[in-house]
Symmetry: C2
């Protein structure tokens, strides 16, 4: 089986590396000649280049570009593909991708492998990156079952736990556990930065694990945070507004010294966090 | 030098253990006979009992009870103390403690060693717990300089980095880097739990490091979270309201597709987080 990978960053590079090691024939395409050279040099792919035509011989193509380039990449590669070629992607939102991509290409199946770390670029590619990571696949009405089967198998091969659902349910779920945390965490950092200099610089001396953990995702890759908001705007707004309402109630409880109600909330959050982890 | 420790939980136990190992004569007082026995058995203290009178011979006494018992503990021990005895505490708020405690006892100096972990109880006492932790001491007007010097020295001996400021500035700073994070993190958990069952259970499957880190402090000890709110109510409300205002603005930006302004915020939070860590 020949597998094409478009976009050789941390995700695309790590995926290519793992598949190459497993004996697949891998074709890596990047917009940058330099990245292609590095991918070949480090044996991350079997073949590499900037020309999308290289993908014509692949049975399965995985689009690993940033979200905003996924649809245009599909449009640009389809002139070179026989109709049985299967395409998938790795975008962290699915509603804005899966339905229009399905319009462009019958054998498209949306994927979202939830793997990664703070690094960016092929220099950090690591073969075990997907091991035990959840991967959501989001076929839509009429997606061919053969395409679904092949996409599931490839993610299983790199170690993912597969979940299958609708693009909408995927986007609702990731809004809660990934996109909302980024926004509330970023809002913590920006609010702290507005504090007057004397308090802020003293607070900076004292900040430790609690602040570090709560602010981590808000201090992450700004382009990724922006794309979450742009491409999962509606679901993110729904969860942000629920969060905002609850925050208003929480502040009311503290203002009104409703300590028993606050204690009840904190007992519940102490108990309920385990359900997510 | 004889050191008394009142309250033998994780903090009191760890402090006693470290001081005992360093050769200080330590006297541990707990309300529970069982805890006293354990402290002796494990050589955490040199002497232990439930009777506050034991503290009469100590030069320095460290109150390691929950915040709500600090002032009453000081009231209960002073009948046994000669006037030169120095008293400090480990409470995570200082305004509600340092001024009234100073009224009760001239040689009182408020302390807040910022150490700890998710464990509770003397069973988890560990000697290195304070190593490299920040410790804020908050003397007030007329606090004797000899008392300040002794309290600084004891925290330095267990490995703390010492900061000295007013109770008010301490409370403002910890509201931002400790108490506000607990509330926004708890609010994330309780908001997620209100999502409908189908979405929530799917989200629970996918939650990983981002959710884990952002929700960690909100799922912590509920009694501690409640006490932060009760005893640092005013400073916490100030930071919560600033956070709330900024959250409202952030939501507006997403609703109005102000992507350039959101991108600017996320670039700043990416850059500014390092200043705190």
């Amino acid at each position: 089986m020949k597998i094409g990978i478009v976009g050789l960053g941390l995700i695309g590079g790590s995926l290519a590396l793992e598949l190459t090691r497993q004996g697949f024939y891998t074709v890596g395409v990047s917009r940058q000649e330099k990245t292609c050279c590095l991918a070949l040099e480090k044996s991350i792919v079997c073949e590499s280049g900037v020309d999308l035509q290289l993908l014509g011989k692949c049975n399965l193509i995985i689009i690993c570009t940033p979200i905003k380039f996924i649809l245009s990449t599909i449009e640009n590669i389809i002139p070179y593909l026989p109709p049985e070629t299967i395409i998938t992607d790795v975008g962290s939102v699915k509603g804005a991708i899966a339905l229009p991509a399905r319009e462009l290409w019958k054998n498209f199946v949306g994927s979202h492998p939830m793997a990664g770390n703070a690094n960016q670029g092929i220099e950090f590619a690591e073969s075990g990156l997907f091991n035990n990571a959840p991967c959501v696949i989001t076929p839509v009405e009429n997606t061919p079952s053969e395409a679904i089967k092949n996409v599931r198998e490839i993610w299983q091969r790199v170690g993912c736990r597969i979940y299958q659902t609708t693009p909408e349910l995927h986007d609702q779920a990731v809004a809660w556990i990934s996109h909302l945390p980024v926004m509330i965490s970023a809002n913590l950092i920006s609010s702290c930065m507005e504090e007057e200099e004397q308090v802020r610089s003293f607070a900076q001396n004292l900040a430790s694990s609690g602040f570090r953990d709560t602010s981590r995702v808000g201090g992450g890759n700004p382009e990724l945070g922006l794309m979450m908001a742009q491409y999962n705007r509606q679901q993110l707004l729904t969860s942000l507004k629920k969060y905002q309402q609850n925050l208003d109630l929480l502040i009311d409880k503290i203002e009104n010294n409703n300590w028993e109600e606050l204690a009840q909330i904190l007992r519940e959050t102490h108990r309920d966090r385990n359900k997510f982890l």
